[in-house]
């Protein structure tokens, strides 16, 4: 029983952490929190089910198509909902534009895909055991993303350009960094990470349009608690959140578990609006 709670908690925590990282990557590039992070997660599951289960594509092809779709949605988000409002002094506008875009995609999915949660295909033909792929797939995805981001930021010039843009946008522009292309690339990257989270967690969360608001909220908790733009904080907070949620689930049942999570979240946030890790101006993996 404990094993099941821990496994489920860690697995779902990884999904939340990845959505948190999605938020962070978009934030680092633009100082904007986008409502589309949760929607990306939802799309990972829905499109995965669509391509592989329904259309019958081979696993790898379907997988890459899903990630490509995520990258595309990320880019669309930047062009349509972020760039136009960056110039405006009105702070609230980006919240509304990304909300509008996220809603459009969610509603479209609800209508075309349906409001029922549909099963996500089993990706590998391995027998179900204790440590089943629905648990280790999200964990693998999370670990892979962390490693890749680390490599990106430490060992490629592009990654370091991302770090530069997020630390000091003005100085980055002044020395001639292609700020706009880098921002678009960041949003594409965020799109890939978000859909990967949904894809890896598909078996757990199912292909369900309602995952979008769920992940929008639960994916943001790691960001709020771990500190804006702090990916390490997001991972730690995400895992803790997953474990806490599953424990509460077990102890008081599903509905009150949500209440518990939310209450704790609000209390922590009000006590420390900067997050538990404190405000971190540096972007790190």
């Amino acid at each position: 029983m404990v094993e099941s709670i821990v496994l489920t908690g860690l697995a779902i925590g990884c999904i939340y952490a990845l959505i948190g990282i999605t938020y962070n990557v978009m934030f680092s590039a633009s100082r904007v929190f986008s409502f589309t992070a949760g929607t990306l997660g939802m799309l990972g599951g829905v499109l995965g089910s669509l391509f592989i289960a329904q259309t019958g594509m081979p696993l790898l092809v379907g997988f890459f198509l899903v990630l490509a779709a995520g990258a595309l949605f990320g880019i669309v988000t930047e062009i349509v909902a972020v760039r136009p409002v960056l110039k405006s002094l009105d702070q609230h506008l980006y919240v509304l534009s990304t909300l509008a875009l996220a809603l459009m995609v969610q509603q479209f999915t609800a209508i075309e895909w349906g409001t029922e949660a549909r099963p996500f295909p089993r990706l590998f033909d391995i027998a179900r055991g204790g440590f089943d792929q629905q648990f280790w797939l999200p964990m693998l995805a999370c670990a892979a993303v962390i490693v890749c981001l680390e490599l990106l930021y430490r060992h490629t010039l592009v990654g370091r350009a991302f770090l530069a843009i997020s630390e000091d946008n003005y100085a980055a522009r002044a020395i001639g960094l292609p700020e706009r292309s880098l921002r678009i690339a960041s949003f594409a990257l965020a799109g890939v990470i978000g859909t990967l989270a949904g894809f890896a967690g598909g078996e757990m969360l199912l292909a369900f349009f309602g995952n979008a608001p769920l992940l929008t909220f639960y994916g943001f908790v790691p960001v709020a608690l771990g500190g804006m733009g702090n990916n390490r904080g997001a991972v730690v907070a995400g895992l803790l959140l997953g474990l806490f949620q599953q424990t509460a689930n077990f102890l008081v049942g599903g509905i009150f578990a949500s209440v518990a999570v939310f209450t704790v979240f609000i209390i922590v946030l009000l006590a420390r609006p900067e997050g538990l890790a404190g405000a971190s101006p540096q972007r790190r993996v």
């Binding site: 350009a161 100085a171 001639g176 960094l177």
Partner: protein, 242 residues
Amino acid sequence: MPTLAAEPLLEVAGLSAGYGKIRVLRDIDLTVGAGEVVALLGPNGAGKTTLLRAVSGLLHWSGKVRFAGRDLTGVGPRDTVRAGLVHVIEGHRVFTQLTVLDNLLLAGYEMPRGERAARVEEVLELFPEVAAKRHERAASLSGGQQQILAVAQGLIRRPQLLMLDEPSAGLSPVLVDRVLLVVQRMRETGTAVLLVEQLIAKALALANRVYALSRGSIVLEAETSEADLPQRLEHAYLATVR
């Protein structure tokens, strides 16, 4: 055989710029010739930084700006850097979370990799105190060293014109001299420099020509060889409209 360019390297005419509704610069005319060092002086709030930002494309402007025969209307900093016009911004802003080496590599982001690495080494040779810390985070450098790093970043792309915004601000006298020595060396190698400075005496010692900016307009233009320049400058700044 190159003919003598009739057109100055940088030509600014009727430039106006500001922030939102606030007009800071009114109708600025300014030129910088190839290989010249031009000092831009003026009290705070005069618009010196705004002028540099406009020319390098960080800010919207109206009027006319031509660089190396090319019209810079609507051109942003990425393209002005490509064209050979580099702006080292005020406040020794470097990327503190990245190493010195990374800071320099990023300045050469759009260069081919081999050329970039070689150029970074070349520039580091000019600044041994910074080269010694090449693998350290820029955050561990002192303010003065960060300023030197910022100037070094500006040199990576081999600019024809380097614009420096108050490079001496906050530096100890020793480091000020170090930085201004670099400027002198650049004059010797034929790079033009537009230097915004607060230290009048030092700027005048280095420059060929000087402009004084006050309240958004050019109030003085002279060769540095001209007599009684310091008094004329003081008069230009503090003179009231009446």
